[in-house]
């Protein structure tokens, strides 16, 4: 089912959690809302679920399949919601937790005992917990609890699945496993899903589409590839992945990082001013000698070859820390040692000119 969110505002007292947010989600899509804490992503999710009411505004609408659901009772929206801290019914067994949504239906719509029984076991099989139906939440690990919560949410055959930092309370290894499992599950059942996370790796890996949020606004909305490689704002560039940030000056329509000229996107061909240069660690080249290309000087401070790439820490002549990732083979060729003088040239850089600078 498609979801259309139009001009949502939400404030808590004087605090504005959402500022004019609009979003369209296609049927069967898996979208992640990504942002730091306080960016409004969870509030947006709760507004969609009906747990929070958006501020009154003439153009505000939340449409499920074209139909405005703002007046719809929270229980009738057919939303499956998974909470960060699971929110399992602690006094009920796993079986009872999953069966809850079916048991509370009005008598006429309620499936028979037998049907409930087989449906619950089917779901527990889906989340790979079939043997644990009789356990209580306190007897399960965090990852198991979250899978029970997911089975419980799926029991009501939701048209939309909303996940609020579902793996936030789990350790890294379990997160990774559940993330891949969730993606496979989504490919199997194709329910429109929105997942909230502050973990960029999770967002980029799982989603069809990533919506980056900051301070109550949508910063960028695009495929994982788009937001990572073509960030539209400094915030997105900074938030996704590691990055080096430098100051640059604008002269004659180019940005100058020290003596290195960089192209400026857009139309800043007039005047002078300041700009920020963002360069990812793997986009810097290390050379031992000047080779004619513009480059800046730096000293090697630290080398960490433990990983898929070698992480080299450097200090520029201006006293700034610079991080560079190079392949391990390249490190061997360069034979770097701490204290070495090297020359850095960017293969790729993004220049952002603050709007107030002309």
């Amino acid at each position: 089912m498609s979801i259309e969110i139009n001009r949502i505002h939400k404030s808590f007292g004087a605090y504005q959690a959402l500022k004019d947010v609009s979003l369209n989600i296609r049927d069967g899509e898996l979208v992640t809302l990504l942002g730091p804490s306080g960016s409004g992503k969870t509030t947006l999710l709760r507004v969609i679920a009906g747990l929070e009411e958006p501020d009154a505004h003439p153009e505000t609408a939340i449409r499920f399949h074209g139909e405005d659901v703002r007046e719809t009772q929270i229980g009738s929206r057919q939303v499956g919601f998974v909470f960060q801290h699971y929110a399992l019914f602690r006094h009920m067994s796993v079986f009872e937790n999953v069966a809850f949504g079916l048991r509370v239906r009005p008598r006429r719509q309620r499936p028979s005992k037998l049907a409930i029984n087989s449906r619950v076991h089917e779901l527990l099989k889906l989340v790979q917990l079939d043997g644990l139906a009789g356990r209580y939440p306190s007897q399960l690990s965090g990852g198991q609890r979250q899978r029970v919560a997911l089975a419980r949410a799926l029991a009501i055959e939701p048209k939309v699945l909303l996940l609020d930092e579902p793996f936030g309370a789990l350790d890294a290894k379990v997160r990774q496993g559940l993330r891949e499992w969730l993606r496979r599950l989504h490919d199997e059942i194709h329910v429109t899903t929105i997942l909230v996370t502050h973990d960029q790796e999770e967002a980029l890996e799982v989603a069809d589409r990533v919506v980056v949020m900051n301070a109550g606004r949508v910063e960028q909305d695009g495929t994982p590839e788009d937001v990572f490689h073509r960030p539209q704002s400094e915030f997105v560039m900074d938030f996704l992945g590691r990055v080096n940030v430098f100051h640059a000056r604008i002269e004659d329509g180019r940005a100058w990082w020290d003596n290195v000229p960089l192209d400026v996107p857009g139309r800043f061909d007039h005047g002078q001013g300041q700009a920020h240069v963002y360069i990812r660690p793997h986009e810097l080249e290390i050379e031992l000698q000047r080779n004619g290309h513009p480059a800046i000087e730096a000293n090697v401070t630290r080398i960490n070859p433990a990983g898929a790439v070698a992480k080299v820490g450097l200090m520029s002549a201006a006293g700034r820390d610079i991080h560079v990732d190079i392949p391990l083979e390249r490190l061997e060729v360069l034979a770097l040692r701490p204290g070495d003088r090297v020359y850095l040239s960017p293969r790729k850089a993004r220049v952002f000119v603050p709007e107030y600078v002309i």
């Binding site: 909470f83 019914f89 006094h91 949504g101 509370v104 690990s141 965090g142 609890r145 350790d171």
Partner: protein
């Protein structure tokens, strides 16, 4: 070799942690001595005095019509005030723990009022309101309703002094549990009523029972507030504690202590139930915290 060293080292540290014998002796004696002097001794005294003239005299004290009436009145007052406070306490803690509203802190303070005010004063307030010379006196008299020096006054006073017990037990627990489970239930299509019976109530049942037991104990044992509104009409408006006082003032010690032993037994039963419930609540507690780490 290594084992020997580590053993001696741990043995050494255990000795270092051990208090000298005389310190232990003093602490132990102080604790036990205080407990015996102020708790065990009076309890023993109640039963010795009650049984001083034998079992026959002990049981005869309960056959007195005035004693029977006092017991009946105490049971009636308890049977009315405890369910009232159960409903009130549940409603108040639900409101306080699960919703944000103006005047919440005022409500919390008001709930604690009976703890803060001397029971005698609360009794006097009821006299001031419902007595013949009180604010509502003329109206009550016109409609032929007697509150003060009658059963309704005793029930009112009992409700007043016992009303914090249930709410005080539930509020912290409900606040700790938060709203997530209720929200999950609503999202799964449960009605408000279903959510209450299937999720909220089962989650607080032991704490609720605990609060009820404390309420019962207090309702049966209340003296001050009830004394002011009762008027001490023998066989009519005397509760068990008031009856004990009257017997004692009449130098009828055996009967006084015999009836008092009922209250003492009630206290012991309450204590036993309370301890059992605390174990239950403790056992239910670990499941409250989500585990961050995989097990």
């Amino acid at each position: 070799m290594a084992t020997a060293i580590s053993t001696s080292a741990s043995g050494h540290s255990r000795a270092a942690l051990r208090e000298p014998l005389w310190v232990k002796a003093i602490v132990f004696t102080l604790g036990i001595g205080f407990l015996s002097l102020f708790l065990v001794l009076p309890l023993v005294a109640v039963f010795t005095e009650a049984l001083r003239e034998g079992l026959h005299a002990y049981f005869a004290s309960f056959r007195d019509p005035a004693a029977l009436s006092a017991i009946r009145l105490t049971l009636v007052a308890t049977a009315i005030s405890v369910p009232l406070n159960l409903v009130f306490g549940l409603a108040a803690s639900w409101a306080i723990a699960k919703f944000e509203f103006r005047g919440k802190s005022v409500l919390i303070t008001l709930i604690d009022l009976p703890f803060a005010v001397s029971p005698v004063i609360s009794g006097l307030i009821f006299v001031l309101m419902f007595g013949l010379q009180g604010w509502l006196g003329p109206w009550l008299r016109a409609h032929d309703i007697q509150v003060i020096f009658a059963v309704p006054g005793i029930v009112l006073a009992t409700v007043f002094v016992t009303f914090p017990f249930v709410a005080r037990e539930l509020i912290p627990l409900m606040q700790e549990q938060g709203n997530d489970e209720e929200q999950a239930a609503l999202l799964l299509g449960a009605s408000g009523w279903q959510t209450f019976w299937r999720v909220t109530l089962p989650n607080v049942k032991w704490a609720l029972l605990y609060g009820v037991i404390l309420s019962v104990a207090r309702a049966m044992g209340e003296f001050g507030a009830v004394s002011v509104v009762s008027g001490h009409v023998r066989g009519k408006t005397n509760t068990v504690p008031l009856h004990v006082e009257i017997l004692y003032n009449e130098y009828n010690f055996v009967a006084a202590f015999a009836v008092a032993s009922l209250l003492a037994l009630l206290a012991l039963a309450t204590l036993a139930l309370k301890t059992a419930l605390e174990w239950k609540i403790q056992a239910a507690r670990p499941s409250l915290e989500p585990t961050a780490v995989e097990g």
